[in-house]
Symmetry: C2
């Protein structure tokens, strides 16, 4: 496959896509849904081929489970497409409108980013979700899925591509890459690709981040913390830690380290130990922790380890400041929780913890696009620019500045008899976009 | 100078800065202004030293003019600080508020990016402007100015730093780098620096973009176009081209190529030639252009050259599509203008030209933070993510997701008796932030 050619094609498609009406995009999403329903048995057959191969190769049980894409999962994906078609268009929203002078109006209007390269793990539903989010936000996409799901991904990409193109979406807007070499080639194409979204293991994501000059949106580690303040409701704290650790263990928003204020450590730690050991969690404690409860000693590297497993490290801290320092030093800017009844401590924590998600009195596991009400997510970002935390449709758009004049020139606003700018905020939307949104 | 140590210091300061009240930041801006007024004669002395050195080294006249920082320029900078202190705080704005369930509320709230590294050209007023924008937006900053302005930059950085710290801003929030080697070192410190903003020649900016994994906000080239449609008002078109090319020639938002619809080329080109040659502009035309007016022939490389000079290339195009294709191929995603009376053509151009600024019937020179009413700008971005076009205070902030619960756990929202999310948009702001904004 000639990846450069594919990327150029995607780039050309993205220009057409940015001008396409909301109506056309939604019609295409529904066409994809209909086609997926029609082809359910073909998809299941392709998926069975992947599953058989995976079983032969003795893939671990959880991976097999994620790989499975049966009737009920297909129906779920179809429902997702239906919901997505009903969401407001993220493109063409007027963010600000300003009257610069009589007849000279400035609009900041959202638009697609352009071409997005997505590399994702084995779950085939990710292909449908990501490509449909790209379509709704007007972006062209190059996709690479896990090789275990090759057959399933292939038929799904064909359905999404052909059904949407038949419904009026430009050719070449979606390309499924086949090999790791394809991905490597893609990472060099900064002339044609505007954003890379990698989803997978942290080693994999870090590799990608280090080998491209294209902006990368995502996260490598998910080293999340729960800090239990001396002013915490201790029962609540235990509940939150148990949920954050055990509700689903192999995910980036599960907690890896619990920080406990020294004044409550003697009361809380034994309760925490009981509750977590009942769930089969192995504990590793700091010097002070092991003096209070009988657990393994934590090593320095425990504080920066994403276990993704039933293991939790515990550290006793002197105060809120020490907790914040620990999180900013060892954390991954993902999701961190404070449990406290003290309002000032909560503000302080949420201000000074430099993470995408800062939570008060609830589980770290809420950090998720669906739970946040974003519809769906393309991933969770620990970047400091563009988009942070769970990224839904809004992270897939940027904006343009549109200035509408009537022959205005800058010379009139400079020199001795310079006209002044008015700079009046207008409460109006960019109406040319509205026109375009009518059915075509 | 130990740059890593400085960057760590800036990083620690940025954590404190992100929690500082609006009142404190504005008080600090006014303190800087007062101190600059008090020290006017010292600043002028330092600047004279730079000017004398520059004259000895025979720097070109325009550079000398930019380097000059006299009483009136200092007063202008002080006025800028006063205005900035009156602008709304970009930090702590609630972007969205969502009720996920009873007692579980999600807020998307703006916050500073963290530590910003800025490398800028010789104008000393840039130091005051950039550092004050960083202060107002709660970011720590590492600055490197042009070596011609070393004395002026040094005293200005001292004033900004000491006056603001005395007014309560954390130590080490501002560091002035001294050498190019310092900058090189800074570009490696992706653990401590969140964003690089380079302002200078395109070679310089490209070098920086290629030698760091820290996100870079800015632009290398400014290859801007004016497309004159067959449905244009021709007098207006000539006016706009003259202003876009000659109002100020050595800037990124000046036009470099004019595209002319073939149907009006015979009428328009002679008018355009007259008007531009009166202003001393050298014209370079495509094959079709040189058949109509007597001008130099343009070479292929002219279409991708940023002249920053009294030179303009002209190309006759078959239609709107050809104009859009040319701009997307040769342009730099900066500012592009269409002159037309046809509404559909205008929409099409503004949709499909992939640039930060797309203008209708006005000069490309309006592409500027001050003219856009952003207060001031840290630069103009041709990036496709985060911030595009002139970047003011809003480009210096990102957001956090703040989730406030009361013991909520995810286990309650999964499985057979799962609770449902409400996902109701709330019209409220995050009130803990309001509390913090009261005077301290």
């Amino acid at each position: 496959m000639d990846i450069t050619k594919k990327a150029i094609g995607a780039n050309q498609a993205s220009i057409q896509l940015s001008a396409i009406s909301t109506y056309s995009k939604n019609r295409a999403l529904k066409a994809v849904r209909d086609q997926m329903q029609k082809k359910t048995s073909d998809i299941v057959l392709a998926n069975q081929a992947d599953l058989e191969k995976a079983e032969k190769e003795k893939l671990p049980g959880p991976l097999l489970k994620r790989l499975k894409f049966d009737e009920s999962k297909i129906e779920e994906a179809c429902e997702g497409l239906g919901s997505l078609s009903k969401l407001p268009d993220p493109v063409g929203r007027t963010l600000t409108a300003t009257k610069l002078d009589g007849g000279l109006e400035l609009y900041k209007v959202t638009c697609p980013i352009g071409v997005i390269g997505v590399v994702f793990e084995s779950r085939p539903d990710a292909l449908v979700q990501i490509s449909s989010l790209c379509l709704k936000s007007g972006n062209a996409v190059l996709l690479k899925g896990g090789s275990e799901a090759a057959n399933t991904n292939k038929i799904l990409a064909e359905i999404v591509s052909s059904a949407s193109i038949k419904a009026g979406i430009p050719d070449n807007w979606l390309t499924l890459l086949e090999t790791r070499a394809d991905v490597k080639e893609m990472l060099d194409l900064d002339d044609y690709i505007d954003l890379i979204i990698p989803r997978g293991s942290n080693t994999f994501v870090k590799q990608i981040m280090q080998s491209t000059t294209i902006p990368v949106l995502g996260h490598a580690d998910g080293i999340c913390h729960v800090y239990i303040d001396d002013k915490a409701d201790l029962d609540m704290a235990v509940n939150i830690v148990v949920d954050s650790k055990t509700q689903y263990v192999a995910v980036c928003n599960a907690v890896e380290t619990v920080l406990v204020h020294k004044d409550i450590a003697h009361t809380l730690l034994p309760q925490l130990k009981d509750a977590l050991e009942q769930k089969g969690v192995e504990l590793r404690g700091c010097d002070k922790t092991v003096q209070i409860i009988k657990v393994k000693a934590a090593a320095e590297e425990d504080w920066s380890t994403e276990y993704l497993d039933l293991i939790l490290s515990i550290k006793v801290v002197n105060d809120l400041n020490a907790a914040i320092d620990h999180i900013n030093r060892y954390g991954s800017k993902h999701t961190d929780v404070i449990v406290t009844k003290n309002r000032a401590n909560a503000i302080d924590f949420m201000d000074r913890v430099d993470s995408a998600d800062v939570f008060l009195n609830c589980s770290s596991r809420f950090s998720d696009g669906f739970r946040f009400g974003l519809g769906a997510e393309v991933g969770i970002s620990t970047n400091k620019i563009h988009a942070r935390g769970p990224v839904g449709l809004e992270g897939l758009v940027i904006y343009k500045w549109i200035l509408i004049g009537n022959g205005h020139i800058v010379a009139d606003y400079s020199g001795k008899e310079a006209k002044n700018f008015i700079h009046k905020k207008l409460r109006k939307t960019f109406d040319l976009y509205k026109m375009r949104k009518k059915p075509v």
